[in-house]
Amino acid sequence: MRSVGVKDYYRRAKLGDTLFNAFNYTAMILLGIATLYPFLNVLAISLNDSVDTVRGGITIFPRKFTLENYAYLFSYPSVVRGAVMSVLRTAVGTVTGLVSTAMVAYAISRKDFFARRFVTGIFVMTMYISAGLIPDYMLIRSLGLINNFLVYILPGLISAFNVIVLRSYIEGLPYELQESAKIDGANDFVIFSRVVMPLCLPVLATIALFIAVGHWNSWFDTYLYASSNKYLTTLQFELQKILTNVQSQAAASAQDIYSYALTEQARRVSPESIRMAMTIVATVPILCVYPFLQKYFTRGLVLGALKQ
């Protein structure tokens, strides 16, 4: 009797396990599809003939393959300027941001630094206090940063969160390394750049990724502070302008990409196809760096979050 009961029990448990797995794997696959499908759909439309697209029914493969939409997109001057500016601000912003973050984080990681509490405090406070949109706007205006490239770099130079993450990481390193370098006659700057930073590479990579993604994705500072200087336009801002046109469905002004599409090549490209191509162009750089840095950022983030 008893052995039959046990067998029965194990059979039931196994069945429950199988059902659970079936449910779980199905749910995860559906979630994966729900996440990826929008990209694949937009990619397919961007690679499809725009007249054909109007017929509808494009899923994840283009029906009539063409590179026309992209060729057209990159013949438009403000898109090219936007791409150059996006790359430039991301490069300059990431280097300056990373170096500044590292220097502050190192200084406040040193227990013997006399101003350690003061510097830490003044940065940490900024995580809870902000003046708000209008005072910030007035400051930028009175500093003369409107329509100036520096408005992309200076106001967001350092994030207190990144400083704290890096500081926690440095404090986890053995302090003996710094002491022995000091005995060898190295000054604090040499210890920082030759001893401590090389050991911080994983967390520096994570922070660099966060800063770079922030710069690449930013559009609001262009909108607010630099929209009347056409040389400071970025890809995200151009995409935002296209989106605003979609929403209002208003007739496009003479300046923007839609009217350009309508006047010059109306029969070959449609606004929708251009928007899809633009969405893909703005996404691709992230897709390129993402797989390589993924292992760093999960580790870095978990570390930062736990130490907080």
Partner: protein, 318 residues
Amino acid sequence: MPANGAHLVKTSSLKKHTSWWATVVNQRYLILMSFPFVLWVIVFRYLPLWGWTMAFQDYKPGLPFFQQKWVGLKYFIILFEDPKFWEVMRNTLAMSLLGLAFGFTLPIVLALFLNEIRHMLFKRVIQTITYLPHFLSWVIVASLVFQMLGPSGPLNEFLLSLGVVKEPVPFLTKPHYFWWVVTFADVWKEIGWNSIIFLAAIAGIDPELYEAATMDGAGRFRKMWHITLPGIMPTVIVILIMSIGNLINIGFEKQFLLRTPLTKEYADVLDLYVLDYGIGSGRYALGTAAGIFKSVVSLILLFTVNRLSKKTTGMRVL
């Protein structure tokens, strides 16, 4: 360069009668590495706080500070009497509460189920896919949302082909749908990323607990319910408290990018009010007053939940 021994003697003798100036000279590199950024933080983060005075003045751009006319709380009263202000407050609270209800719970559910996947490669692939949207800008996500939810977009095509609906659902143009569209766009973007912290917490649970439960005959759901969930409760509570502290700070990007003229009434949030009415129409004093109101509310929320947290979990978030 003195020999090692001599150098050591020198530093220790310095330490004995350290004067203020000696410390400064000694730590000059640390000072050089941090003080310029202290100056930066003062200019870009603290100086704007001075701008709060604008809310109490009939602010005229270009006039020096002492010639501005002080008007007390006039603009706060105007603000609280403005029906538009209460409309944006309603929208802000509605979207942040919906965000809390779904944006907070669904990542926990995802983490629980991801944790049950034994096939490591499959798990990694799903994680990689679900983290991805976090790294895209709201501009890109808004473009995807417009494409997916448009009248002839894939979702409507799908619903039509299943016969669930007779005609396309106006997801983007019907005002009442806006809160839900924003909430689920946000969940789609952040669910994977927000689950990371819970997965890390799950990884810290003692595996012996699971072994013991298996011996006692617990199934997968029971182990999830009685071991995993209680195991991550401290993390859940900390994250919950932090989200409540940020309730009013929902930003404006997604609302700005997803709103249409038809949905404005349900889309505009506090920060958009400041943007449109403050900077857009040059009513700086009113916009600043709204910004101050927001800061005060969020500080009150923060201190309240901090105290609550200390009482209930013994953990401080501040």
